[in-house]
């Protein structure tokens, strides 16, 4: 039997899983009642630590440990990152549109545990439906006393404010998100100080991803140990994966990690259309280095196994490319995205991403030169020294090094294809 935590309600009640009535009818807000009446703040934090829940936003940092860093200063804030912008990810959208009360209950429990009295949800502006649904849920929750001055008679006060982004990928980076939320330019901040010490309005702030927070009600109800028992030891719980690209059954899947990529792509994803061959896939969104069949089909789908193979699960975006894919064009498309989304504040990212894009474009246009491969790698190296994984960076934030992933991927796995394309240019030009 497949274990599901986050998607059971939306699967069982596809028409009204987003409403308070359906939520209450399916056990909703019972975790909150338990938290408020039976548990101390520390109990909740301990359960989250015990769950081994690792942040679902991409970095995979243990959520309970992060909570432990929250500085004692007041006021303190919880900010939920729903600026889901990594190309290939769309699972936060589904969780927010289809089960907003689950997210909200997670927010309320987390805020109670963290002694936060004002939580913010930063939703990307391109998600109007998710914003509408969540706002309705917030309104319902105020009405029903789950939010406000006295949450369900507990004396705990909490306000939740939604904020829509204005279309910048970088605002998914937590400190850029905080700047944007404050009304400033969406540019990542220098760290330290980290948000847990100096975050929103310079106050201690926890920034968590939608999926992470949506797991909190289940963990509260069932205990951290139960959560930790699901899946591999260091990839506990379920994980939402957004599968897209050349695949027969694209969509969001809530899976228990531990299977192989072969199983994921061919069993769950239904394999490649028209029986074509798999050429490569990106295991964790546009920022992640690519995997290839010869090397990685039997690698385990888990945070650590993917990391050990030089990539990341990230926010859970699996993008599949079949044999018809022009990998140079694919890399160029990703570079164009990063060059466009670079905030521009630091030099290597601002200049480097657009340079990489320009060189790839030139190669695609038939004007490649043999030295361009070394040039691409050296530009990449000047953004992410050593081209190692996890990446080092000359930049302020990881956006620049993310843009390096397609370069290292195509030069590592598809160098002959790249060389051939350049050689054809030589013939054409020569």
């Amino acid at each position: 039997m497949t274990t599901k935590i986050l998607t059971t309600r939306m699967d069982a009640h596809p028409t009204d899983s987003h409403t308070l009535s359906r939520y209450l009818a399916t056990g909703g807000y019972e975790a909150l009642t338990k938290a408020l009446t039976e548990m101390s703040r520390d109990d909740i934090i301990e359960e989250v630590k015990a769950s081994n829940l690792r942040g679902r936003g991409g970095a995979g940092f243990p959520t309970g440990v992060k909570w432990g860093f929250l500085a004692p200063d007041e006021p303190r804030y919880l900010v939920v990152n729903c600026d889901e912008s990594e190309p290939g990810t769309f699972n936060d959208r589904q969780l927010t549109e289809r089960d907003p009360h689950q997210l909200l209950e997670g927010i309320i429990i987390s805020s109670f545990a963290l002694d936060v009295h004002h939580a913010f949800v930063y939703i990307r502006g391109e998600y109007p439906k998710a914003a509408r649904r969540l706002q309705s849920a917030v309104d319902e929750a105020y009405e029903a006393g789950y939010l406000g001055d006295d949450v369900r008679g507990s004396g705990f006060a909490l306000d939740v404010t939604l904020h829509l982004g204005a279309g910048a990928y970088i605002c998914g980076e937590e400190t850029a998100l905080l700047n944007s939320l404050e009304g400033r330019r969406g540019e990542p901040r220098l760290k330290p100080p980290f948000p847990a010490v100096e975050g929103l309005y310079s106050k201690p702030t926890i920034v968590n991803n939608v999926e992470s927070i949506s797991n909190i009600p289940w963990i509260t109800s069932n205990g951290g140990a139960a959560y930790a028992a699901i899946g591999p030891e260091r990839s506990a719980g379920t994980k939402m994966l957004s599968m897209s690209g050349h695949i027969n059954a694209p969509g969001n899947y809530e899976i228990v990690m531990g299977m192989t990529w072969r199983e994921l792509i061919f069993d769950i994803g239904g394999g490649i259309p028209d029986g074509r061959a798999l050429k490569a896939w990106i295991p964790g969104g546009a920022s992640a280095p690519w995997f290839v069949p010869d090397e990685h089909l039997d690698t385990i789908v888990s945070i650590d196994d993917v990391a050990a193979n030089g990539s990341m699960i990230g926010a859970g975006a699996v993008i599949v490319m079949d044999e018809t894919t022009n990998v140079v064009a694919a890399a160029h498309r990703i570079l164009r995205f990063f060059a466009h989304e670079s905030c521009g504040q630091c030099t290597p990212c601002r200049e480097g991403t657009s340079w990489l894009e320009a060189v790839l474009k030139r190669i695609l246009d038939g004007n490649g030169r043999p030295e361009d491969i070394d040039l691409l790698l050296d530009i990449a190296d000047n953004i992410s020294p050593g081209l190692v994984w996890p990446p080092l960076m000359t930049t302020i934030c990881p956006l620049g090094p993310s843009a390096v992933s397609p370069i290292t991927s195509i030069t590592r796995w598809f160098r002959p294809e790249l060389e051939a394309m350049i050689a054809r240019s030589e013939v054409r030009v020569g």
């Binding site: 220098l190 504040q345 200049e351 020294p385 000359t394």
Partner: protein, 806 residues
């Protein structure tokens, strides 16, 4: 472990002790390891944006590239600045910076003094591998009337944004767009109108920001640089004056942490454009009917000598001297007291303070005392409008945690960052002072703030309509605050120097009171007998001219018709005078009434010393030759004295400078040589250690009457007014406010006037501006504009609606 307050770090294998908490880039530079940088600036908060200063810092997981501008040094830190990894990173960053940067160095104003050029040479790879097309922008675009922006050249270092936002408090610049299209811009319909805009040009590490005036005027290697002082206001900011072929081409703020920390107001920076105004007086002029005719120096000197010599000394007065050097002021004081034999001398125009309070207040502080203050009290003119660089220093102190109390009859530039901002009706200052001193109900919070020392109190006269004795009472109150230091606020450029040189009816050179018998006798040993009668101040001199008790007057760069509180009195006085000689660079309302006008050199054209509001003496250096036949006031007086048969000893500024050090007790030892060879670039505060300050003025509580009346007037100062230099500066003229009467909405209602309606203020018609920040039954009018200069500074003002069409 290093000694207290320092930490030990190892840079490239060599151990150094450096100040704890200092940023690595600064600490490294301190010990001789220069790390390249673009966004880093010692006076700005770190942003770590350019990434040029990456170095390797050893950590628990090995060496990591780290921006040295963002990390503070810690004990035991091990740093490498020259490894292959660092070199590659730095070359990479430089290559990135140059990708889209136009290589137009040969026509760029920055070429030759450009950090990007210099560091590309020192740290760059030599050649770019970029063969694509560079990004281009329309160039240049104006961000203000003074500053142009070439976006192609911008390296996105954020310095200009930080200067505007953090230093000046004018958040009017911001980045727009993203990625390689990121660019500096202003907000829609909000130009970068800041009193401090020129600082952005100075801190720009490339040629992206240029001043309208300097653009394409010179190559840096053709410029000569002279370290001097900006004689625009009494802060006397240190400047580097850059000249080429005998012309001042630009003025840069010089790093003097005791005074201006490198910053300047735009008035400091651009006022020199008045020096080359076609309206400068360049030859001596003598009255010819209703006009003037040009004459030679010798004829003019003969005439002045004859006319001044023809009167009893005590029938002659002298007004002004606050805009020149100490040497010029001293020469005038000596000329009046010894050659003419008159005690009627005043550098202030009835718009200032008791000269004893201004020159010798006890517990006098320095500008840098503000950095250490827990609490700052500002009760005086709006600093932003009058002493803008001091305004920046107060802002800095507040940024670093000082509490600020501002007391003013009208909103001021500091209100927005003040802990407490107290507003009172013009003329009722004494009332609020009493409440504050007694901790009356409603004032407890302010009193509590003021009890947190050390306190630095900046005390002056917030308006010339304010009784000057109020400042005396405020100073007495401020002196009672814990660990209080006081800074008297007079604003005219070298007024403190002039008072110290004895340009006051009750002061002799070196802060000696005319009532101090020992001091008088000491000076008489050098100068011979001094006039016995008491001297008159400016207002008394003007009255005496009308009454024919005085018959002749010298105006030394003074325009009493514009600047004294009652223009009508000044005008009648100059009309009544039998002889008026004016030293000036421009024709003014007052010089037009003179019988002889002598062309005076301006401060870029003379050498000498000057004294600022903290008593700091600095060297003012000549950077260009005086225009036309202009000479210094002291040289002119020396000639006139000789023609009168006397020896003034003022032919050359260095002679005067030596005499000051010899006869002015507080200035003992304060020679130009001391300033050049011992005091260093910061100058020195008088009295220097070992010298004496004869007069120690203790402010006293005085009972100042509260002004009552239907409306009371606050004549507010403005940085850009119709002052002679501003209106002759092609850079700054036109920035002045058109002139309005600001009043509270309820007062406007009672007069049945709306915004823009014309009203009659003491016979001057001005439009109304309704402003809830103005206390009720007050009106606020900007002083010394073309439209407002006729308004007398009486506290009580008649305001009436105008009947009929304006």
């Amino acid at each position: 472990m290093a000694e207290h307050g320092t930490v030990s770090i190892i840079i490239n294998g060599v151990e150094h002790d450096v100040p704890e908490g200092e940023r690595l880039i600064t600490a490294a530079e301190r010990v001789g390891e220069y790390i390249p940088r673009f966004c880093h600036h010692d006076k700005l908060a770190p942003v770590g944006k350019c990434r040029m200063c990456l170095v390797e810092v050893e950590g628990p997981r090995g060496s990591a590239l780290t921006t040295s501008c963002t990390v503070p040094v810690t004990d035991g830190m091990v740093v490498h600045t020259e490894t292959d990894v660092v070199k590659k990173a730095q070359e990479g960053i430089l290559e990135f910076l140059l990708l889209n940067h136009p290589l137009d160095c040969s026509v760029c104003d920055k070429g030759g003094e450009c950090p990007l050029q210099d560091q590309a040479l020192a740290f760059g790879a030599g050649e770019s591998r970029f063969i694509e097309e560079k990004r281009t922008f329309t160039k240049p675009i104006p961000v203000s009337e003074l500053v142009l922006l070439d976006r192609e050249r911008c390296v996105v270092c954020d310095r200009c944004v930080r200067v505007a936002d953090d230093i000046a408090g004018d958040p009017l610049l911001e980045f727009i767009d993203r990625g390689s299209y990121v660019q500096i811009n202003t907000f829609p319909n909000e130009p970068f109108s800041s009193y401090f805009s020129g600082n952005t040009v100075q801190v720009c590490p490339v040629g992206a920001l240029t001043s309208v005036d300097y653009r394409f005027k010179a190559r840096p290697w053709d410029l000569e640089s002279v370290r001097s002082v900006s004689l625009v206001d009494s802060v006397q900011s240190s400047v580097d004056v850059h000249t080429s072929r005998g012309k001042i081409l630009r003025v840069y703020g010089a790093e003097n942490d005791a005074v201006n920390e490198g910053w300047l107001s735009d008035k400091d920076r651009f006022i020199f454009s008045a020096f080359r105004s076609p309206d400068r007086i360049t030859t001596p002029l003598v009255r010819d009917g209703d006009g003037f005719k040009e004459t030679s120096w010798s004829e003019a000197v003969e005439l002045v000598a004859m006319r001044l010599g023809g009167h009893v000394g005590t029938e002659v007065g002298a007004i002004g001297g606050a805009n020149g050097t100490n040497e010029e002021a001293f020469a005038l004081a000596k000329f009046m007291r010894t050659v003419v034999g008159s005690p009627h001398i005043d550098a202030q125009l009835g718009d200032g303070l008791d000269p004893h309070l201004a020159s010798s207040i006890t517990a006098r502080g320095t500008i840098s005392d503000l950095d250490a203050a827990s609490t700052i009290l500002v009760w005086g003119p709006d600093l932003k409008e009058t002493l803008p660089v001091l305004y920046l220093r107060v802002r800095k102190a507040v940024r670093n945690g000082a509490a600020l109390v501002v007391v003013s009859p009208y909103s001021t530039g500091l209100d927005s960052i003040a802990t407490h901002s107290l507003r009172y009706r013009a003329g009722s200052g004494p009332e609020i002072l009493r409440k504050l001193a007694h901790g009356d109900a409603g004032y407890e919070a302010v009193t509590e703030t003021l009890a947190n020392g050390p306190v630095v109190a900046l005390v002056g006269r917030s308006s010339i309509t304010e009784n000057p004795m109020l400042a005396e009472a405020v100073a007495a109150f401020a002196r009672s605050l814990p660990h209080a230091k006081l800074l008297p606020l007079l604003t005219r450029a070298n007024v403190f120097g002039a008072l110290d040189m004895g340009l006051a009816p009750t002061l002799l050179p070196g802060r000696v009171s005319t009532g101090d018998a020992a001091g008088v006798s000491l000076l008489e040993d050098s100068w011979g007998p001094l006039p016995e009668s008491a001297g008159k101040d400016t207002m008394a001199m003007l009255e005496a001219l009308i009454d024919r008790d005085l018959v002749a007057v010298i105006l030394a760069g003074a325009d009493p018709i514009r600047d004294c509180p009652d223009p009508a009195v000044a005008e009648s006085a100059l009309d009544a005078a039998e002889f008026v000689v004016a030293f000036d660079a421009f024709m003014t309302d007052s010089t037009r009434k003179a019988h002889v006008v002598l062309p005076a050199a301006l401060w870029g054209e003379v050498d000498g010393t000057v004294t600022n509001l903290e008593g700091r003496v600095q060297r003012l250096r000549r950077s260009v030759q005086p225009r036309g036949m202009s000479i210094s006031v002291s040289a002119a007086l020396d000639d006139i004295a000789r023609a009168m048969g006397a020896e003034l000893g003022a032919a050359d500024w260095q002679l005067i400078n030596k005499e000051i050090a010899a006869v002015a007790p507080a200035y003992a030892g304060m020679t130009a040589d001391y300033l050049t060879f011992e005091a260093g670039e910061e100058g020195a505060v008088v009295p220097i250690p070992g010298a004496t300050q004869p007069l120690g003025h203790i402010p006293v509580e005085v009972n100042v009457p509260v002004v009552t009346g239907r409306f009371t007037l606050h004549l507010a100062p403005a940085l850009y007014d119709a002052g002679v230099l501003v209106r002759n500066s092609h850079m700054l003229e036109g920035f002045a406010d058109p002139g309005v009467v600001r009043m509270h909405p309820r007062d406007a209602a009672s007069l049945a006037v709306a915004d823009g309606d014309l009203i009659d203020a003491e016979g001057v018609g001005l439009p109304v501006k309704i402003d809830p920040e103005v206390p009720e039954r007050s009106v606020v009018i900007t002083r010394n504009l073309d439209t407002t200069r006729g308004i007398a500074a009486s506290a009580d003002i008649r305001v009436e609606t105008v009947r009929g069409e304006p």
